[in-house]
């Protein structure tokens, strides 16, 4: 009998172009996603060295980081405009498909990949963006790379990589009502820390993971990098196959059936050995709220900020509390917010917007709060509008925007002013991430929606009556 293998090793072995003792492996890349911010210097490097894009057919580009989410007719930011214009020119010169700002397929690169069916199980996928781990939800080996590596992939369609160690994050049981995939991944990072995945590829396993929808799995894999892991993935199952069936870049008919059979065979074999395994119990997880300046600084909504004398890295905690304008041992539900952002590659898909809309339906955003919804793609926006979700948000007092990364990293006009506090469905609460001096609290879309109505954090389960 063949030795049982993990999905990571199965994908890896199929993609090794060249191996040599004492060197990383040269790995073939099946899909290279490109966006405006991390690619201009790579294309320029090719030009200077008179090199071509080897496989424009395996390369797909969009604009997401810089794009305005309103008034798109005139981009006022000259430098952003130049960057987008540069991408347009680079794609044109090299024959790369581009979903630009006005294209119906435009959106956040990690939302449109799966949506178009470009993302498929077993593929090696790279992008000059750390949240490329998102695509791992489909059983793809997907990771973020720097611009030099972008240039390398453009020129050679390969990348040098050390075979990663594997880390099994096993989630037993089932998430309780009102507890989301976002709470799960935040709880994992809070429990094991922002460094525990460094040097590993995480595979999420266990009953609780199997029960997640594909969109929920994307939320989990998306934040693998916040645990230090370049990639996080989930073995494909029937849900994976079902999600991809009929999508634009997915073959049909018999070709699809054959493909799907191969996808299911990629799943980690019973008895395969990981370099490390950790276990977490889904039932123990409550809705989470981050209080500090990295995603590991996170507690259940019923909790409080840390007590300085009880923590290991006292100086870091003190600095974080100071930056966040919080006291030690302060109850999370006492924290008042000024902004709400529902969006980002973590939580901007149709199901995210639906769940948040269900919370705010028929209610009003607290007048002191400015709340915006930024759909992950043009297609998500279109479908949401067809379902009347935009109306629910707008009637509640939310702004409804065009697709893009927006306030997750505030490269465009959407930012949180200095000292203001934001309940955000994004992935990073670093200092200044959402604007210079901005204070970010990471939460699920449901928790963000409830906070928008109440003006402070509440347990969304009490808000909806799931808990008394």
């Amino acid at each position: 009998m063949r030795k049982p293998q993990t999905i990571v090793n199965k994908i890896w072995n199929k993609h090794v172009v060249h191996e040599e003792k004492g060197k990383p492996d040269l790995l073939y890349i099946d899909l290279h996603l490109v966006h405006e911010v991390t690619s201009p210097q790579a294309f320029e490097g090719l030009r200077l060295n008179k090199r071509k894009v080897r496989r424009p057919d395996l390369t797909y580009a969009t604009m997401d980081h810089n794009v305005p989410t309103k008034n798109r007719d005139v981009v006022k930011d000259e430098i952003a405009n130049k960057q987008m214009e540069t991408l347009r020119k680079n794609c044109e010169e090299n024959g790369i498909t581009l979903a630009d700002m006005y294209h119906p397929d435009q959106g956040i690169v990690h939302v449109i990949g799966p949506q178009l069916g470009l993302t498929q199980p077993g593929k090696t996928i790279v992008c000059g963006d750390s949240h490329t781990s998102t695509h791992g939800a489909f059983g793809a080996l997907a990771f973020g790379i720097g611009t030099s590596e972008v240039e390398h992939v453009l020129a050679t369609q390969t990348i040098w990589q050390e075979r990663p160690k594997t880390l099994n994050v096993k989630v037993e049981g089932e998430l309780g009502p009102g507890v989301t995939a976002k709470d799960l991944i935040l709880a994992i990072i809070a429990k094991f820390g922002v460094r525990f995945g460094t040097g590993y590829v995480i595979e999420y396993t266990g009953d609780a993971i199997r029960k997640l929808t594909m969109e929920e799995r994307m939320t989990v894999c998306n934040m693998s990098i916040e645990a230090g892991a370049r990639a996080g993935l989930i073995s494909p199952d029937e849900k994976t196959v079902e999600f991809l069936k009929g999508r634009e870049y997915v073959p049909t008919g018999e070709a699809f059936d054959n493909l799907a059979k191969g996808w299911l065979e990629l799943a980690t074999d019973e008895g395969a050995v990981y370099d490390q395994t950790v276990t977490i119990y889904a039932e123990e997880i409550e809705p989470q709220v981050s209080w500090g300046t990295n995603p590991g600084m996170c507690v259940p909504v019923s909790g409080s900020t840390p007590v300085l004398n009880e923590v290991q890295y006292k100086e870091d905690v003190q600095r974080a509390l100071e930056y966040m304008g919080l006291e030690e041992n302060q109850p999370i539900t006492s924290i008042e917010i000024d902004h709400v952002f529902i969006g980002s590659c973590t939580n901007s898909r149709l199901s995210d917007l639906k769940k948040a809309a269900a919370i705010v339906e028929g209610k009003k955003v607290k007048p002191s709060v400015r709340a915006i919804v930024v759909p992950g793609s043009f297609s998500v926006k279109f479908q949401a509008e067809k379902a009347g979700i935009d109306t629910i948000f707008k009637q509640a007092g939310f702004e409804w925007r065009e697709a893009g990364c927006s306030m997750c990293l505030a490269m465009n006009d959407d930012f949180v002013p200095p000292g203001s506090r934001c309940a955000s469905t994004s992935n990073r609460n670093f200092e200044g991430r959402q604007g210079n001096g901005a204070r970010t609290h990471l939460v699920s879309p449901e928790m963000a929606a409830a906070a928008a109505i109440e003006g402070h954090f509440v347990d969304v389960r009490r808000f909806t009556g799931v808990l008394n």
Binding site: V17, H18, G22, K23, P24, L26, Y28, V37, T38, Q41, E44, N49, R54, H65, D77, I79, A80, K82, Q83, T86, G128, D129, S130, T132, G144, I145, G146, T147, S148, E149, E151, H152, A155, T156, Q157, T158, W160, V194, R195, T198, I225, G228, A229, R230, N294, Y313, E315, D316, R319, L409, A410, M411, P418, R428, F430, E431, G432, R433, N436, G437
Partner: protein
């Protein structure tokens, strides 16, 4: 990439853990389409206040660190985004070596591609050197070939690990793409299989 074999430089101690790429180079400076000119924005919000004035309490702004070229920091240096603008900013500012107990994976790779030596060193040693550099001007010598860090002041030599493959590329300043393109036949064979 500029080759680097030996480097002697002044140490700048940054006694913080989880220094993320948003701190190294904030997002508003990522819109440039060049690889150069990012040094002026390094640690921008730590170095400058809201009006763009230097913060006197941030050590890198002090005259004694003007010529610093070796950065020593806490665990998980370079976590967060994949932006290569982070090593571009460090390099442009004048840093050729970063020493920390641990690095984020993507940053580590990005640093290597730009001729910065990322050196992983145990926490206790890092703590000692940070302390030294806080107390007075402190210089270290990095011998990449011999994988030694030489502390002439205390007459100490400390070995460091670096994968042989990365070391060779740094020593020679090789263009990785040119090396890979020598394997063109194998890439083409893979594509046809």
């Amino acid at each position: 990439m500029e080759a680097i074999q030996k480097h002697t430089g002044l140490v700048y101690p940054l006694n913080r853990t989880n220094v993320d790429t948003d701190q190294i180079i904030p997002k508003q400076f990522l819109k440039r389409i060049e690889r150069t000119g990012f040094g002026q924005f390094l640690f921008y919000h730590w170095r400058f206040d809201d009006e763009g004035k230097k913060r006197p309490d941030f050590a890198l702004n002090k005259a004694e660190y003007n010529d610093a070229s070796i950065l020593i920091a806490g665990e998980n240096f370079g976590c967060g985004s994949s932006r290569e603008h982070a090593p571009w900013a460090l390099l442009d500012y004048g840093f050729r070596v970063v020493i920390a107990p641990s690095f984020a994976d993507i940053f580590y790779n990005n640093a290597l591609k730009n001729g910065i030596i990322p050196i992983q060193m145990d926490k206790q040693q890092v703590g000692q050197w940070i302390q030294q550099a806080v107390e007075s001007k402190f210089t270290l010598e990095i011998d990449l070939e011999g994988q030694q860090i030489i502390d002439t002041k205390n007459n100490e030599e400390v070995h460091f690990d670096i994968p042989a493959y990365h070391k060779e590329k740094l020593l020679n300043g090789w263009d990785e793409i040119a090396l890979t393109l020598q394997l063109e036949n194998e890439i083409a064979a893979y594509e046809q299989a």
